[in-house]
Amino acid sequence: MKNTDIQKYFKEVDDIVSQCDRCGTCLTVCPLFGVKDIESSSARGKNNIARGMIQGVVKPSAEVLDIVNFCLLCRTCVDNCPSKVKTDNAMIVIRQYFAEKNGSPGIKYKALGGLMKNRTLVKFSAGTLKILRKIGMNTLIPHGMAPSEFTRKQYLSSFAGPAALGSLAATSPIDLSNKSKVAYFKGCGMGMMFPDAVEGTLAILRTLTEPQIIDNMCCGLPHLAHGLRSDFLDMAKENISLFEKADVIVSDCASCSGTLKHIAAHFTDDPAWQERAAAFSRKIMGISEYLFQVGYKPQHRVDVKMTFHEPCHLGRGQGVRKQPRQLLTAAGKFIEMAGADNCCGGAGSFHIDYPAIAQSILDKKRINIENSGAHIVVSECPTCLVQLNKAAVQSGNKFKVMHISQVI
């Protein structure tokens, strides 16, 4: 890497981490510090190792990269930090720096990046699984995951009784007067692992409008998170072009909607794309955000206790908190669980890289779900759903896990 490149990365990181006052607030909230209480787990530890590296006090070694990779990018620290230090962004930039310094983010991430960039592979999930297995990432799709997805139909038949099943047809009272063209952004994780939920999203959208189905690229978060920024930018450009005609772009994956909303920030110094990226980002909405905004009424109300696991990329990432909860309040007996916005430990591929730590974080989540007494835990992100499904099994199937589009 050229010296100027290093300078550029270091400046970008330093602008963030030099704002860290080292107070320690983040120690009390970082989920990783909560299960492994050594300094380097916390945001303070990570920001300062970054600082140490920039100032030449520690060498940019593989161990430093390990510390930088050991982050859920969950933004809990950012939310609580008095100086609002964007630790997650700093970690992403350093991963990028290492990827370029080492010529690659490591075989595994590179393979993952290549895979997610390839639409055909993503579409044929059988093929995907094979490749995932080859690179040892098949645990991304837990054993029997896709076939055992708890479908809307099963949900209604087990919790609602036959009457509710029949009353599904209700057309939405909403008249989209402004004739806005709504497009659906299909996330890779949703497509590969939760086809029933994707169907649910589309069915709901169809009660409101005729959604455009576009053969989109991956949102690029896995690439961005692991130092494949140029892949990320390539895909972003393609997505921007693909969706130019839509007025609203709805995604049922919080990681996608969150990432896409922030795309504009990556093109601020690219005059050719700046405007288009900003326009694209403005059009993005998460499914519950969109449905809430248009006043969607759930198709059925079922007498079952449900709770919401708030994905990091939804609540802290986009400030979407009340919308899914209100939809659920209309769809069933909604109860707020303790720590609903705590990370579940999924965090993209974190749970594959650090299974034991992710498990400890998930255990806390599972206990909160169990204590809430909910029969259904609902979320809006495939990685979270994967984690929550693990928790469900570990709890002896005390609760079921569903995507919000399957219950409203």
Partner: protein, 462 residues
């Protein structure tokens, strides 16, 4: 460097999962919340994370035998470099000693381990209607060990005092590993020297505190918050004096100067009346709501005598939170005003507050720097924040000069170098000016008795 065989012994004591020795892991224990620059020399050779007093004692015995420096550490929220292991050796991280051993409601005392966080002590007692008043702004993450180590203060000091006013007894592991208990639950206790108070504020240089017995008081039933805006700093200070003399003692009396207010206004996008030069935030507490109204009325009358511009008495919890959010966010808001910031912590007799602020203004002008001033006006503890950009040539020297002059100003009005953050590394060069040669020698003699090999937190205070 610590030899492998010694590391092995230490691992045997605390378990190898509780010892860190890789350079990057140890790096995390080389800084605290002070502005001490990072340095490879401050990285400890070993981080040891004990869970019991017995483990602490065994580790100290080994360190003493081999002459290895040991620096106790709570959560490194200290502002003066206290827990930075500048001589390497062992960073003794005590944050896992988190047992609340006993709440003795009849005697109104709680016994806790050193790693318990301040806020956890407060909450635990509050559930039983008891009150642990010391409230450093860092209370959500600072440990009791660190609070005792620094004799931490807080906003409530004006009415309720500082940490030392609540420490009844300590369990301390000495440099050679022996364990002593000082003080106890007896309120009157003159058996031997008052070692409890000697260890309180000793910054980890005399012994490792493993347990503390803390005194509690009944929780005030009601509280409220007021915000007063003044046309001058003197008027604000005079209001506080008059209040205190007339027997109205607020639970907290925080003062902010104009620069601080501007920082908050900018950070929170507020508009502030330009004629306002100073702001006071008060917490009042008592037994009944009438009690509070009475206090608020008296305060208002006094403030009127000093041309108060605005008086806001919180009418809801939301308003209370809003007002305190301004004060709590102050440090960050000021930090955001410049690339670098040096926060100081001087303490002066209460009536010298306005004079000291005037001196600081002059220092700022002379050195062409912006210095925001806020502090605990009720007890004369001032936090001047020097704003600067160290990348500008010559600015670093100006900042150092200004800080020297601020300390000189504090001493000139009969004040001292530190109100609550301790001396640590950052104020070491100034201690002789504050205590005199003989004074510093006395400290050294005390240290010599407790730690003849000089292994406990070496290089601090003087």
């Amino acid at each position: 460097m610590i030899a492998d065989e010694i590391k092995l012994k230490i691992r045997d004591i605390v378990g190898s999962e509780n010892v860190l020795d890789s350079n990057v892991d140890c790096f995390g224990y080389s800084y605290d919340s002070s502005f001490v620059p990072m340095s490879a020399e401050n990285i400890p050779d070993l981080v040891v994370i004990p869970s019991t007093t017995k483990e602490v004692s065994a580790v100290m015995a080994i360190a003493n035998q081999y002459g290895i420096p040991v620096t106790p550490r709570g959560t490194a929220s200290g502002r003066t470099g206290g827990c930075i292991p500048i001589r390497g050796g062992i960073s003794l991280a005590l944050h896992r000693m988190t047992q609340i051993i006993e709440l003795d409601e009849r005697n109104m005392m709680i016994t806790v381990e050193a790693g318990v966080r301040t806020i956890d002590v407060y909450n635990f007692c509050a559930e039983k209607g008891l009150f642990f008043p010391p409230d450093p702004a860092s209370w959500k993450y600072s440990t009791i060990g660190g609070n005792v180590g620094e004799n931490a203060g807080g906003m409530r000091a004006v009415k309720y005092g500082v940490t030392s006013n609540y420490v009844m007894g300590l369990e301390v592991v000495l440099a050679d590993g022996s364990i002593i208990n000082t003080g106890g639950k007896a309120i009157k206790n003159v058996t031997g020297y008052n070692l409890t108070q000697l260890f309180t504020g000793s910054e980890g240089t005399l012994g490792v505190i493993t347990k503390a017995i803390l005194r509690l008081i009944p929780m005030p039933k009601v509280r409220n918050t007021m915000q007063l805006m003044f046309p001058s700093l003197d008027n604000a200070c005079n209001t506080i004096h008059k209040m205190l003399i007339s027997g109205v003692v607020p639970a907290a009396a925080e003062l902010m100067d104009k620069i601080s207010l501007q920082a908050v206004a900018k950070h929170r996008k507020l508009d502030i009346n330009p004629s306002i030069e100073a702001c006071i935030v008060l917490e009042i507490d008592g037994e009944t709501n009438e009690d509070l109204q009475e206090q608020a009325k008296k305060i208002q009358i006094t403030a009127n005598e000093f041309d108060v511009i605005e008086v806001r008495i919180a009418a809801s919890q939301q308003e209370v939170d809003d007002i305190w959010a301004i004060r709590r966010g102050l440090s960050s808001a000021i930090g955001a005003m410049a690339p670098n910031r040096f926060g100081e912590d001087i303490s002066v007799p209460r009536d010298a507050f306005p004079e000291t602020v005037r001196l600081i203004r002059r220092i700022a002008e002379k050195n062409k720097l912006t210095i925001a001033v806020y502090g605990h006006a009720g007890d004369g503890n001032i936090h001047p924040s020097v704003l600067c950009d160290l990348s500008k040539p010559g600015e670093e020297q100006q900042v150092h000069d200004a800080i020297d002059e601020i300390f000189a100003a504090a001493l000139s009005v009969g004040g001292t170098l530190s109100g609550e953050h301790g001396i640590g590394i950052t104020k070491r060069p100034h201690i002789a000016k504050a205590l005199g040669e003989a004074g510093v020698n006395t400290l050294k003699m005390v240290k010599q008795v407790f730690d003849p090999n000089g292994i406990l937190n070496p290089g601090k205070i003087w």
